[in-house]
Symmetry: C2
């Protein structure tokens, strides 16, 4: 590990942004606004993960500080999010029963394991692996997961328990059990949902009409979900429904102790693949959010720094006894708009959360679960994004297929199977695209030193000489296709013929391609013809020099030089 | 499914090869020679897969005909091979005990499942997925598997049973049990191995010295393993060792009945991933062999036809009650050299195998197992290929790492884990390579209409105008990298500035890139600058026309046209 990389890790604030006092003020107010959103959301997403609500608060302290130390996005807001929580729930489903000590130990293990994977991937500079999931596939996955989440929350909202794992059996079970609906719970849920929707639509403009402006306006607007949920808790007490409607219940006061409880070894291997998928989805989603933020702020996003930041956040979430966290979409947008310009905003947010844990934990115990379920449904509904599918239908059918297959996979086969399908489709997409590089037989534009595609330009050629230009790095993924093309041209050469390979666009070449070029050179020799090179770049020439065949090969600086040399040596006129 | 594809399936002989009478003679003699090699090999590889030896013969009839109907390689010799057999053994290890009815049912299922996957992949034209395994990774896998196979055969050769799954425990167990070695078995094995090695080295030249030439010479040379194994069987009888040394035992006479015995549903899902890996390895190995053959014969290899051929072969192997088959390396080389020029050679081979099954099955029962083990060791030892690793060390360290990690993975973690590591490394390699496309800021060569990289040529530029050329198709796998580059250039433009994107090398664009271009266009507008296009190809323009932003965009036919227009409109001189 060299010094440069090391200094990069620990210098999260050393980026292009002006660290004026106003940037600290921005970070401070953004941190406060995000905490107000984070309180109800973190409780809700812990419950979504099948965990005691207060673990959501635990996942909102140290992880934010961990990201601030190692991550570099000016405004990515890390913490509990809906997608990671539903993936945690799914991973643990066959492992233990929700909220049991084994379940909690499993969630902690998922946080540790995905954190270790992310951090290690960051050290190994594997950020390029974000291409394992294309944008349409990710959108299909999130849209499918949002349907799964909403259906899961209907249980809490209706006060019934649905049967079955798949979406289809759950929906049919919903209709069968409709008579068993618990009306007070449903009432709390519906009123909460209605108020949350109204607040999202009108809170900002209403507060403005009351003359509020600046930070206070921003705070009240973003605190409206928290206020609504507090209002619902008050109503329970007012209408004497506290015994009938389930609430969050006792929230331990104080800070999380560092915890290292882990499940026994037998279950661990099964959870590793789940941890890998949670890490992958969290990373792809966060880095795409970080890029959006980075472009708005004029900062280049380093995916490897994001990997290290998310890794540290998850390791510290595990150490806090909590569950996987990642960058949240809605909170990051709010963070950016509220003025966050350095990861310090996350530290401010964590500091406010510590105050909540120390002082206000008791008050949170009376929050009705149905209100949190309503908050999840309202938040998650906006994650469903069919527009991406419709756009993809217009632009690129492979993308549309990727969206639809992943979406359907999540609903029919399950969350993890859905994302596995998405990864396979994305990888197949990449392999297919790179397996067909552009190649051209080229000739000289009369009177110039320029060479162009013979199919598109009037050019000069030489008899029994073929100039080919390959417009891609040569490697195992495209070599077969290139070799078929070159063999096809080489076959027509007779004794004395020359195949000139213009490698001006080639900046790298691997073992498979070098061995293939050697085979081609041998083949040409057996016909009495030759393989020669033109416009080799330095690194490619270096590698070729280490091969067996290259020492006898002729290399021309340019196609023009090759053209003139071959014309004179063969005594040929132009063909 | 259109008519052209359909006619391709059923026209295996419709390729560029001249079907003269001499080609039929070549196919006939090649078919006979291959059968003589196939008899002992197929018995040995069935035993390697933990199956009764005669199932190897069953796997050498219908599968060869299936390949001949759907496959198109002139000389690929399909049938039982060492790698697929050891993968079958590994897949079934935790499933049943070798040679039990459940084990056989599992092997049949693996053949059916991998056959169905291969055939379907052929119909879906997924041949490009061969890039899931690079050549060095495949070589590392085969080298590792050859060590595993040889160590496994030591049990049969020494007449002891080794403990443990991993290579390390087996080797230590070997030393502990050395005193228990069964000497007659060891003697038969060692003598067989010595004779096989001598025959490989000297059989051809010795027979030539006795004046043999042409087909008879070829037949006797290639039959020498069969003759040596027959000789060992005779010696057992002569030295009265038949009771002490294990033999193949009763081989049922007659042809395989069509069988559809399958394991019960509980085990099936676990076997599906094994079937996928067997199919993948078999395909990559066969298609690389088929390409080598194709280039020697001047025939273009269609990976999708090979997928269908291998798929049909495995489906028919399952239907024969046998196990996964694929293209064999050594037999294919012999097949080609013995004159095979169409898949008809495989049909001839199958016909000879039917004669063996009908008439000679009884004679095969006396073959000593130790001789077959010696044959496996001698054949498989040549699969170990450290030269690829050494070459890769010289050319490309990522390739060397791929070889070593896969090889080590097979030995330390197991066969399936090793190939899984190989797939992951190959995919990571592809993703990494395509994530960094070549891009250049370009300018005009003075006095010409040609544009070149500003870093490498003296060129003319315009103030507040940037020309950028991207040398790769735009898609999700490289878009982030491209976007970072473009944003970096765009940021320096002031009001009235223009970013000219030369897409002359771009022949495809996906949803992610189109959405990204739209975001870039909006960003530029907010600065008072503009995004314009030059040298758009038809398909790219068609896709862009369906997007939201493109209708207002200016498109120039060439960079030169854009250069002149922008110079005049801005009233600028040259920068």
């Amino acid at each position: 590990m060299n010094g440069r990389v090391y200094s990069n890790w620990l210098a999260p604030w050393r980026h292009d942004i002006n660290l004026s006092p106003s940037s600290w003020a921005g970070d401070f107010s953004a941190g406060l606004v995000v905490t107000l959103m984070l309180i109800p959301q973190s409780l809700a997403y812990a419950i979504l993960a099948g965990l005691p609500a207060h673990l959501g608060l635990y996942a909102s302290v140290l992880p934010l500080i961990g990201y601030a130390v190692f991550g570099r996005s000016p405004a990515l807001a890390v913490g509990p999010v809906a997608i990671a929580s539903v993936m945690t729930f799914n991973a643990l489903q066959s492992f233990a029963s929700p909220a049991s000590p084994e379940w909690i130990a499993g969630a902690i293990f998922l946080a540790f394991a995905s954190g270790a994977m992310l951090f290690l991937a960051g050290l190994l500079r594997l950020g390029f692996l974000a291409a394992l999931l294309s944008h349409p596939v990710m959108s299909g996955f999130i849209s499918g997961a949002s349907v799964v989440i909403i259906l899961g929350q209907l249980q809490t909202l209706l006060g019934v328990r649905l049967q079955g794992d798949s979406v289809a059996t759950q929906v049919s079970s919903l209709f069968q059990r409709f008579s068993g609906v618990h009306l007070p719970t449903l009432g709390v849920g519906l009123v909460s949902a209605a108020l949350l929707l109204l607040a999202r639509r009108y809170a900002s403009s209403s507060f403005a009409r009351f003359g509020l402006r600046g930070l206070l306006h921003e705070l009240l607007t973003k605190a409206s979900p928290l206020l609504i949920i507090g209002l619902m808790a008050l109503s329970l007490w007012f209408f004497d429904l506290s015994d009938q409607v389930a609430t969050v219940g006792a929230v331990p006061s104080g800070l999380p102790g560092l915890s290292f409880a882990l499940p026994d070894a037998s279950g661990v291997t099964a959870l590793l693949s789940s941890a890998l998928l949670i890490a992958l989805v969290g990373f792809v989603e966060s880095v795409s959010m970080a890029r959006t933020i980075g472009r708005r702020c004029g900062v280049v996003t380093d995916p490897n720094a994001e990997l290290r930041g998310l890794g540290a956040a998850n390791l510290l979430s595990g150490a806090s006894g909590a569950f996987p966290v990642t960058g949240g979409l809605s909170r990051s947008v709010v963070n950016l708009e509220a003025g966050a310009r350095t990861p310090m905003a996350g530290v401010i947010s964590a500091a406010f959360m510590i105050i909540v844990l120390l002082g206000l934990a008791d008050m949170l115990s009376v929050i009705p679960l149905a209100s949190l379920a309503a908050l999840i449904v309202v938040s998650v509904a906006s994650l469903f994004d069919g527009r991406v599918f419709l756009d993809a239908l217009r632009f690129d059918r492979a993308d549309a297929l990727g969206w639809l297959a992943t979406f359907t996979g999540v609903l029919v086969l399950g969350v993890e199977q859905g994302i596995a399908i998405g990864v396979m489709l994305s990888v197949a997409n990449v392999l297919w695209r790179q397996s067909r590089p552009h190649m051209a037989v080229i000739g000289r534009l009369a009177g110039t030193e320029h060479f162009r595609n013979v199919q598109r330009h009037q050019v000069e050629t030489l008899t029994n000489v073929v100039f080919v230009r390959v417009d891609a790095n040569l490697f195992f993924g495209n070599w077969d296709y290139i070799a078929d093309f070159l063999e096809g041209r080489a076959r027509r050469l007779t004794s004395g013929g020359v195949l000139v390979l213009n490698l001006s666009s080639v900046s790298d070449i691997d073992t498979t391609a070098i061995e293939g070029l050697e085979a081609l050179s041998v083949k040409l020799k057996s016909q009495g013809a030759r393989l020669v090179f033109a416009e080799l770049k330095g690194p490619v020439a270096d590698k070729l020099l280490r091969s067996h065949f290259f020492n006898d090969s002729v290399v021309y600086l340019s196609c023009h030089e090759a053209f003139e040399a071959l014309r004179q040596r063969n005594g040929q006129g132009l063909a």
